[in-house]
Amino acid sequence: MPLQSLDIIRRSATTTPSPEVRGSYAGTVAKLIDTTKCIGCKACQVACMEWNDLRDEVGTNFGSYQNPADLTDRSWTLMRFSEYENPKGDLEWLIRKDGCMHCADPGCLKACPSPGAIVQYSNGIVDFQEENCIGCGYCVSGCPFDIPRISKRDKKAYKCTLCSDRVAVGMEPACIKACPTGALVFGTKEDMQEHAAERIEDLKSRGFDKAGLYDPPGVGGTHVMYVLHHADQPGLYAGLVADPHISALVRLWKGKAKPLSLAIMALTALAGFFHFVRVGRNEVDERDEEAARASLEGSRKPEMRP
């Protein structure tokens, strides 16, 4: 770590406590993305590029305002555009700002084998420490939202940092600062939940009776939350996962399998040692050599006869 931050509540591939005396007594932080206010201007994407000094390759148009086509190692946030025809037959243009959700129970961190390559700060931000990243891509397998991207250039994993560097010094993330409509707001998670509740009430009063907050409990809640007009169908928003959770396979692989496997290996080795202690080696003695010699002579005699 370049900066000793003393407020790490979880650290990848580490079983002992991390430096965590500094808590977040004012509460954890959260970014609230109000999809109902988003106009798809991509100012957030530009602000992200600018603050983080990222310049992605210029892609090609694939028939959508969505640009680039997907998240990459150099595009940490992306407006995803979905055209939805509602039951009344009207077109709804659903725009969702995609990026790391900063799960309270991060699958990437659970899967990461490299100590300290992924950390979770007490304020809720999940951050990749690329200097510790070994490029195995296990975080990609661990993530329920398909967020981390391995760079072709340096084989390190990258994703949204929630501007941990800005937040650490009391500033809001760059994307929040750039949003012209107030679709992006940032504050304590509690405040954001309250703000979302007001927004949802307003939306319901205007006919969006399924409006709701996306703060999925399957991953312990997230520090990036959405206000959705159609909270009953998150999949409408470019395939937002309805009930995300860390895959059972990843939980097995990076959970019970680890201590269990080491125990089985240790027991196998111990079984060998105690077999030696109790039974001992299987050795050849002089009687075996004599028997072999006798057999050899017995088998040679018939050969010599003719």
Binding site: I134, G135, G280, E283, A291, E303
Partner: protein
Amino acid sequence: MTDPARRDTVVRYSADVRTNHWLVALCFVLAALSGLALFHPALFWLSNLFGGGPWTRILHPFIGLFMVLVFLALSAKVWDENRIGAADWQWLRQWRDVVNNREERLPEVGRYNAGQKLVFFVLVVCLLALFITGLLMWRSYFTLPVSLVRLASVLHAISALVLICTILVHVYAGFWVKGSVPAMLRGTVTPGWAWKHHRAWFRQITHAANPRARSD
């Protein structure tokens, strides 16, 4: 067949088989150490043996691939003599006599006993599984659906566990049956060793037409 240089020994493993075996063994040690480094955080320090985390991640798949290749060569050499027959099942049923060194009660054993054959086939299955799942996990070259990669990761770990435990048993068995390690290092055993542990093989190579006996 007796070694012309040392008349009191029997050739058990040719130089080619010995070389091949130790190549596989070397690959196994390197693949297991680098793989364990990536598997359990308590063993991540093993990555230092390979030049750090990124180098471990880079080298592990290539070591694995090379191991599969050299094992293929070895298995071609020993496959025929590892076929499991009726006597092998009898041998396995009497596993209590096996582990308690009561070898005289067991059916006569050919070039390989049922335990060795079992080790061989577990290796075949594990290496095949490790090879396939390893390719699926190899992000430097392959990008596959995440659910497939997750499944591959779990199967890779399970196969590696079975392989490592099997090799632990194999290594101990080599120490346990005295003379086995020198046999694999220098190629020869004493006639008494062959008589005691692999009597059917001993009879086969000493009986009648010696020139026709295979030495590998």
